[in-house]
């Protein structure tokens, strides 16, 4: 046991080691990077499901219900729940567990709360690395619950295979639905609190918004003649995925089965169309690019004396040099 690395302990199913590693990953420590490198080859098996939506739509309660459902299928479920950090004190109250008490006592579930720590976009800097740890540790479903998001927190779509956007009746008129970027990232739409009045209007607004993006009846020219195609028929034989709209009531679990089925259907769709590999590849590419950027900047600073850099900044400050010229010379000089 004493000779096991942290990564090996995690692979052997040690939950305390898993919790410790997640803390290291969150702090981006050298131990974390070593462990992540070790775990990487074990990853790539989990279905990453993002759950996002405005505050108060019931994301945590839905995650709770979905997890219960996936447990019935005997899948191991990990949950990463992100809540905002205070921009002033850096502290945070992470309250998502309050809605997930049904999952307590089940060794097939692991819930980790994380603070956004100043990161925008609905996730924290290290959320992706955390999901990798869960993936490698053998959790088949990893649900990522974002910060209560509104219109622009779309990073989740880059991380997750399937993004569920949670709406609720009475949150806004259809103009909100038109402008909200968050709806464009939805692979599945859930209207939670569907027992509340206004659910019809919410569904209508979402449906019309979806129809703008994916017209259900579209005209096209076939041998020079206008034809009408039914999107449902078209979707059947094409690679088009039209986000289904699922009504749910997370407090009593109504509609959750349908939502879980839609999530599974989307995964199957991605796999059959090659979209899964495409997403995976894009995500890994952007991860490598981010690491590369960071490493290059670090190497650049290591090779350049701090004095030189400061004097360049001073010259820019005195308007003797523009930032663009400065960067060009700094980069070219280093290469010479």
């Amino acid at each position: 046991m004493a000779h096991m690395t942290l990564a090996e302990s995690v692979l052997s199913g040690d939950r305390l080691a898993l919790a410790r590693l997640l803390t290291h990953v969150e702090g981006d420590s050298p131990e974390a990077r070593a462990a992540l490198a070790e775990l990487f080859s074990y990853s790539g098996r989990a279905h990453l499901v993002g759950i996002t939506g405005a505050p108060g739509t019931g994301k945590s309660s839905l995650v709770n219900q979905l997890a219960l459902h996936f447990r019935k299928q005997e899948k191991r479920v990990a949950i990463v729940a992100v809540d905002p950090s205070s921009p002033f004190t850096g502290g945070a109250v992470l309250g998502d567990r309050v809605r997930m008490r049904d999952l307590s006592g089940d060794a097939g579930v692991f819930i980790r709360s994380m603070a956004s720590r100043g990161s925008l976009g609905g996730l924290a800097q290290t959320t992706a690395a955390m999901t990798l740890v869960f993936d490698a540790a053998g959790f088949e479903i990893v649900m990522i619950e974002t910060v209560g998001a509104g219109q622009n927190e779309v990073n989740i779509a880059r991380l997750a295979h399937t993004t569920v956007v949670v709406e609720a009746p009475g949150l806004g008129d259809d103009i909100q639905a038109i402008k909200a970027g968050i709806l464009e990232i939805a692979d599945v739409l859930a209207i939670n609190k569907a027992d509340r009045p206004g659910v019809e209007n919410t569904e209508k607004a979402l449906r019309s918004m979806l129809e703008l993006a994916h017209p259900t009846r579209k005209k096209f020219l076939h041998h020079g003649r206008p034809m009408i195609a039914d999107a449902a028929a078209e979707a059947a034989d094409s690679r088009l995925w039209i986000p289904p709209i699922c009504r749910t009531v997370a407090t009593d679990g109504k509609g959750v089965e349908g939502l879980a089925a839609a999530i599974a259907l989307h995964a199957a769709h991605l796999r059959s169309t090659g979209g899964w590999n495409l997403r995976e590849r894009e995500r890994l590419r952007s991860e490598v690019e981010a690491l590369l950027r960071e490493a290059l900047v670090r190497r650049f600073h290591a090779e350049l004396s701090g004095e030189t850099f400061e004097s360049v900044i001073q010259n820019i400050f005195e308007r003797k040099l523009s930032p663009w010229e400065a960067v060009r010379t700094l980069v070219n000089d280093r290469q010479a």
Binding site: R20, G90, G91, A92, V93, R101, I111
Partner: protein, 131 residues
Amino acid sequence: MTERKIRVLVAKPGLDGHDRGAKVVARALRDAGMEVIYTGLRQTPEMIAEAALQEDVDVVGLSILSGAHMALAPRVLELLKANGQGQVRVFVGGIVPDEDVPRLREMGVSGIYGPGASTEDIIREIRDAIQ
């Protein structure tokens, strides 16, 4: 690379439903820059220990107003230890009679706070305890 954040689990074991104190403390700890995981009402010691493990916290704060602290606090301490988390500091807030205070301390509770305790004291003592 980032500074180490103090992570605190705030939990309400037992059956009383008064969580105002727990929420005030949670908020004060947040304002002191800590990350507070709030678990809500009616938690069993098992649920609390499990959450403390998953969240890898440094501190567990128990809010108990039911009078059951002499049963609940040692049970939580015991479970933490059994899970390999003996280093986690446990604090108790609520209604604790004076004569129970030394006994709880002996069991390993790091701090005990009654009505009117100042949040500054709690914050300072948490920081000192996990040094």
